[in-house]
């Protein structure tokens, strides 16, 4: 019944200065996670850090479940030191996940920074279908871009932009998306956006979607304690009142989020 399980670290590969790709194998049978689901993962094995940290499903592969993470603080720093064979305590899969798209609908995927982690999961899920998603991917610099080869290997050619412009277009990902929408009015007629990234990106994406009257969903982040809806710690303000990111989300309709 419990979704608490132990998993053994299979690989913890450094991708960039700050990003790691961790593959784990659950030591017992767990529910099948889908795109937009997440796990609460303990980085330590004592009281430091105390709380588990949320990480999205990045990929399910033959060798295990993968998360892609950025070292931002104490917990992720400790996680980055895990070695193959180390055991992690995990709760999950959790959260609502990305909703299925409507039949025949076009899909735009938007990832900012490490937001590529769950967006990739969805891209992989949708890549096999007839209507391939179009993926917009923004990062600070070219060296922060992740899984470009993996995206290509699933047949997706990401449209890239960076803040510095050293790779892809210079500027925010929403700028590139706006241009795309302008140039492809028929595509955007029946189309849904799925996004994950920093708040500033999601905020302008919301505005853009509103402008063009597009449906869309964003996977949100908030500090979490329990991950299962009990502590009321991970609130986001929506048109339907405060909602729990962990249980009511992490995926919310773009037009319901009050920034």
């Amino acid at each position: 019944m419990s979704r608490l399980f132990e998993a053994s670290v299979k690989e913890n590969r450094r991708l960039t200065e700050k990003h790691y790709l961790l593959t784990f194998n659950p030591l017992k049978k767990i529910r099948r996670p889908g795109p937009g689901n997440f796990f609460m993962i303990s980085a330590g094995n004592g009281l430091d850090p105390l709380l588990k940290r949320p990480f999205s499903l990045h990929r399910r592969t033959g060798s295990g479940i993968r998360i892609l993470y950025r070292v931002t603080g104490r917990g992720t720093a400790i996680l980055s030191r895990k070695r193959p064979g180390d055991v992690l305590e995990i709760i999950g899969p959790l959260g609502n996940g990305f909703p299925a798209r409507r039949a025949g609908e076009n899909t735009i995927l938007v990832a900012g920074g490490v937001g590529i982690a769950p967006v990739f999961a969805l891209a992989e899920h949708l890549a096999a279908s007839a209507k391939k998603p179009v993926l917009f991917y923004g990062a600070k610099t070219g060296s922060d871009l992740l899984c470009i080869d993996e995206l290509k290997s699933i047949g997706i050619e990401p449209r890239i932009c960076t803040d510095t412009g050293d790779t892809g277009r210079k500027g925010p990902v929403t700028g590139m998306l706006r241009e795309f929408l302008g140039k492809n009015p028929s595509f955007s007629e029946d189309c849904c956006i799925y996004a994950c990234g920093p708040e500033s990106m999601l905020r302008s994406l919301s505005a853009l979607a509103g402008e063009y009257g597009l449906r869309g969903y964003a996977a949100l982040e908030q500090n979490m304690a329990c991950g299962i809806g009990a502590c009321l710690g991970c609130i986001v303000n929506t048109t339907r009142g405060y909602k729990r990111v962990c249980r009511d989300g992490p995926v919310f309709p773009l037009n319901e989020i009050i920034w």
Binding site: M1, S2, R3, L4, S42, L47, D48, P49, L50, L51, K52, G75, E89, I91, Q222, N223, M224, A225, C226, G227, I228, G229, A230, C231, L232, G233, C234, I235, V236, N237, G241, Y242, R247
Partner: protein, 302 residues
């Protein structure tokens, strides 16, 4: 081995309780642990009308602890009775309802309303939440005011009445005495310590509410001390809490004087924590031939 304990008029199958605000309304945990095995579940603090609570961020981790400033978000007593209580009624587990008000009359009215609800076994008055709004934190820090508000609630209900004390006071035992004198059947201690964390890069408080309540293992030694001080001062039973992560921690509280214990922050780390702790207490007791948790209560040798 008989695990049952009496917390005043409230009879529990075992001494392990889920602490208020850390176990939702019970149902949140139902996919993660066997609620039916717990002595009691204390639900998130309720008020007469629903509350929105504080804006995010509401929580942040600190060394061996966490701050929360949920701000008493809740669905209100009526929705609770209608939508949440039926779920809880299916278990043997006792249901303790944590509640609060903005005035003495609100406290009394909330208690009266809850008393008539089927499936509520005890009331826990929160006079100690540090997320003060409307200046009412005084209910838990001035013994005279505590006496008055507890007396009013005592008159409004015949239910087992537990008063939950704030640790943010000079003399916890004096507060305990005031609650006892006013007719409390038992005391819960401790609630969170008022605390604060600042992000040095943004120079902003890490919580939108500026301050929040510190819980978790960091506060355990303070909580154990307070249970011990109150045990020597009052006769009514105590429910000990504050940083209980393991059966050993729970037993420490019992030795200090607790009749039962509540598990809070630990539930977040491990949704099965409370049940694991119960199991650990059993193992401890049977290894030492202890027949009842009562043998542990207050058994510290000073």
């Amino acid at each position: 081995m008989n695990l049952s304990v009496n917390v005043g008029k409230l009879k529990l199958g075992n001494p392990v309780i889920a602490a208020s605000g850390t176990f939702g309304y019970g149902e949140e945990y139902s996919g993660f642990t066997d609620i039916g095995r717990l002595g009691a579940v204390t639900v998130k603090g309720l008020s007469l009308s629903p509350r929105e609570g504080n804006p995010p961020p509401r929580i942040v981790e600190t060394p061996a602890g966490m701050l929360n400033a949920v701000g008493l978000q809740n669905i209100g007593i009526d929705s609770f009775i209608k939508d949440k209580l039926p779920f809880l009624r299916q278990f043997e587990t006792r249901v303790i309802v944590n509640f609060f008000g903005d005035s003495i009359s609100e406290y009394a009215e909330a208690a009266a309303r809850l008393s008539s609800a089927e499936g509520v076994h005890a009331l826990e008055m929160n006079i100690s939440c540090p997320n003060k709004q409307a200046g009412w934190s005084i209910f838990g820090t001035d013994p005279k005011v505590t006496f008055r508000v507890v007396s009013a609630v005592r008159k409004a209900t015949a239910m087992p009445l537990i008063v939950k004390l704030s640790p943010n006071v000079t003399d916890i035992a004096m507060m305990a005495k005031a609650a006892e004198d006013a007719g409390a059947d038992a005391l819960s201690l401790i609630n969170t310590l008022t605390a604060m964390a600042i992000d040095i890069n943004t120079r902003r408080p890490k919580l939108a509410n500026i301050t929040g309540g510190l819980s978790g293992p960091a506060i355990r030694p303070v909580a154990v001390r307070m249970v011990w001080e109150c045990y020597r001062k009052v006769k009514i039973p105590l429910i000990g809490m504050g940083g209980i992560m393991s059966a050993e921690d729970a037993i420490e509280f019992m030795l200090a004087g607790a009749t039962a214990v509540a598990v809070g922050t630990a539930n977040f780390v491990n949704p099965g924590a409370a049940v694991d702790i119960l199991q650990g207490i059993k193992t401890f007791m049977s290894a030492r031939g202890i027949r009842s948790p009562r043998e542990l209560t207050g058994a510290v040798r000073c």
